[in-house]
């Protein structure tokens, strides 16, 4: 708790129905701590409550119940946002301003002095790959450029905590790589990052811990390496055999793929491996490879969501 940058207790959000419509529970009894320097990925299908949580963190929504502490302060105060950077999902920025004017406007809200504003704006534009585009009106920016400028505004106050809502959803593969690199660079700089995503491969590459949200409830949370990295979920065995040496049923496995003389089978229990190798050798088969396949975040996610 001492180092909890985000602390959420019993957070619930109920959206009241309008004109006779039913109320909808957006988030139910969320409890969560995010530690200093951690990269926490908040995962879940559409409508699971990820954006609701982020909007509650950033004071855009008011909770029905529960409390949030950010950097040790209740987030009901203006000061709690001083060291927070926030990037909304697919940000809309002021089209009538240039990139530099927009960043300057945001920097002024943080009360940065003229010298700091100038230096930081130049640095950030360079860092997000918008050098030379700062004098352009934002309305001429592409979706990817908007996302990059959005990231620059989130970093303008050199925040201790970054809250990013689907930061990679509007980006092309190069943009996503740049973003991942930026997050990893920020992680090295001991920043705490809380982000939501539905791109699991990206989340897996950068996060230390994940939380999986389903229908407004946190159904799973834990360290990524504990959840997906330590054990193999299946083993892929590839070998060749002489034509007609043995039919597939002799392998004792159902998950097999045949291509000419090559066979690839997948087993799900490590203890079945010696027996399989023994059968292959007994039929004069030639073993080509044995590859343990680790469980990935997608497997975990699908298992949890499908439960």
């Amino acid at each position: 708790m001492a180092n909890a940058v985000i602390r959420i207790e019993n957070l619930t959000k109920v959206y009241k129905g309008e004109l006779g419509q039913k109320s909808v529970v957006g988030l139910e009894d969320l409890r969560l701590d995010v530690e200093e320097g951690e990269v926490y990925a908040f995962l879940g299908p559409n409508g699971a409550g990820k954006t609701t949580t982020i909007k509650l963190l950033t004071r855009l929504l008011y909770p029905t119940r529960g409390k949030i502490w950010i950097l040790g302060r209740l987030n009901t105060t203006r000061e709690s946002m001083k060291h927070v950077g926030y990037l909304p999902e697919q940000p809309n920025l002021y089209g009538y301003l240039t990139g530099v004017e927009f960043l300057d406007f945001i920097a002024r809200i943080f009360g940065l002095d003229a010298g700091t504003r100038k230096t930081r704006i130049g640095d950030l534009l360079h860092r997000v790959g918008l050098s030379g585009k700062g004098k352009q009106l934002i309305r001429s920016y592409s979706r990817g450029m908007l996302q990059r400028l959005g990231m620059a505004q989130a970093l303008i106050n050199d925040p201790a905590l970054l809250i990013l809502d689907e930061p990679m959803s509007a980006l092309d593969p190069i943009g996503r790589k740049d973003f991942r690199d930026l997050i990893l660079e920020l992680k090295k700089g001991k920043k705490t990052i809380f982000f939501s995503s539905h791109i699991l491969s990206d989340a897996e590459m950068v996060s230390d811990r994940v939380g999986i949200l389903k229908e407004g409830r946190l159904i799973h949370t834990g360290k990524l390496d504990e959840l997906v990295g330590s054990q193999a979920s299946s083993i892929e065995v590839t070998f060749t055999f002489e034509p007609g040496a043995f039919p597939p049923s002799d392998l004792g496995v159902t998950d097999a793929l045949f291509q000419d003389r090559k066979v690839m089978v997948r087993i799900h229990r490590e203890e079945d491996l010696p027996d399989l190798i023994h059968r292959i050798e007994a039929k004069q088969g030639r073993l080509l490879s044995v590859v343990p396949l680790k469980k990935n975040l997608e497997d975990l996610f699908m298992a949890e969501i499908g439960r």
Binding site: R59, L60, M81, Y86, Y96, I109, F110
Partner: protein, 254 residues
């Protein structure tokens, strides 16, 4: 400080808006046209020019107030640009006041340019500048600010179309307050008179801010009439902004 940052940005947004610029140019063209309209009047050229000019200022000032007042707030909410600002270390009241002051400066500059045009026209005809029009222009400015206040108020909780309709209704009723009061007095037994009475007390009497005929006709303008109008308008602006802030502070930004 943050209020002024938002105000400056609001002002910058307004002056970069082509529609507002077009309204201003049209208003200036119309005030210049009063030279021709005045020419048609029989011996009342000066009076017609001033009357026409002040009416044009009032109408186009109102159009700008409606157009940018509603648009600025609703656009923030609909385009979700508000997410970026409201999540920063800024209070919601600072955002509302910043928007209001930014609009106030924009409208002041617009009215000043229109007034300048009217005084130039006046100088062309009368070979003098009638500074006696100033009190009417000041109260016109207060009236437009009050309309902006109502536009912000309505757009803080309803759709742009409804906000525009509601603001126009307030403007129209505000100029019919005397009629409402007389109607209730003449027909006190009508079933809905309580409603008219309520409207009479809630909606500001905008005629208190209308000195156009007084200054055009060169009628006597007691200082307390101007002072009362000024305090009345500013008081109402304060109340409307207070209500807007109260609603906006509690509102979920979905």
């Amino acid at each position: 400080m943050r209020v002024w940052t938002v105000a400056w940005n609001t002002f910058r947004e307004s002056i970069r808006n082509r529609v507002m610029l077009n309204i201003l140019l049209f208003a200036i063209a119309l005030i210049l046209l009063s030279l021709v309209v005045g020419d048609w009047s029989m011996g009342h050229q000066v009076k017609v020019i001033k009357d026409f000019g002040l009416s044009a200022m009032s109408l186009f000032g109102l159009l700008i107030a409606l157009f940018i007042g509603i648009r600025l707030m609703v656009q923030e909410l609909e385009q979700r640009t508000i997410y970026i600002i409201a999540s920063k270390p800024i209070q919601r009241w600072e955002i509302v006041l910043g928007k209001f002051f930014g609009l106030a400066v924009t409208i002041a500059i617009n009215l000043f340019l229109m007034a300048l045009t009217l005084w130039i026209v006046d100088w062309v005809v009368e070979k003098r500048i009638d500074l006696g029009l100033a009190p009417a222009i000041v109260l016109m400015y207060v009236e437009i600010l009050l309309v902006v206040g109502f536009a912000l108020f309505f757009s803080s909780f309803t759709s742009p179309t409804l906000s525009a309709v509601a603001t126009i209704v307030v403007f129209v009723i505000g100029h019919m307050s005397g009629f409402l009061r007389d109607y209730v007095q003449i027909y006190p037994d009508k079933g809905f008179h309580w409603l008219l009475k309520a409207i009479y007390y809630v909606v500001p009497n905008l005629e208190n801010l209308n000195l156009k005929s007084t200054v055009v006709e060169h009628l006597e303008l007691p200082p307390h009439t101007f002072g009362f109008g000024l305090l009345y308008g500013l008081g109402y602006i304060f109340v409307v902004l207070f209500l807007t802030v109260s609603i906006f502070e509690r509102r979920d930004l979905k």
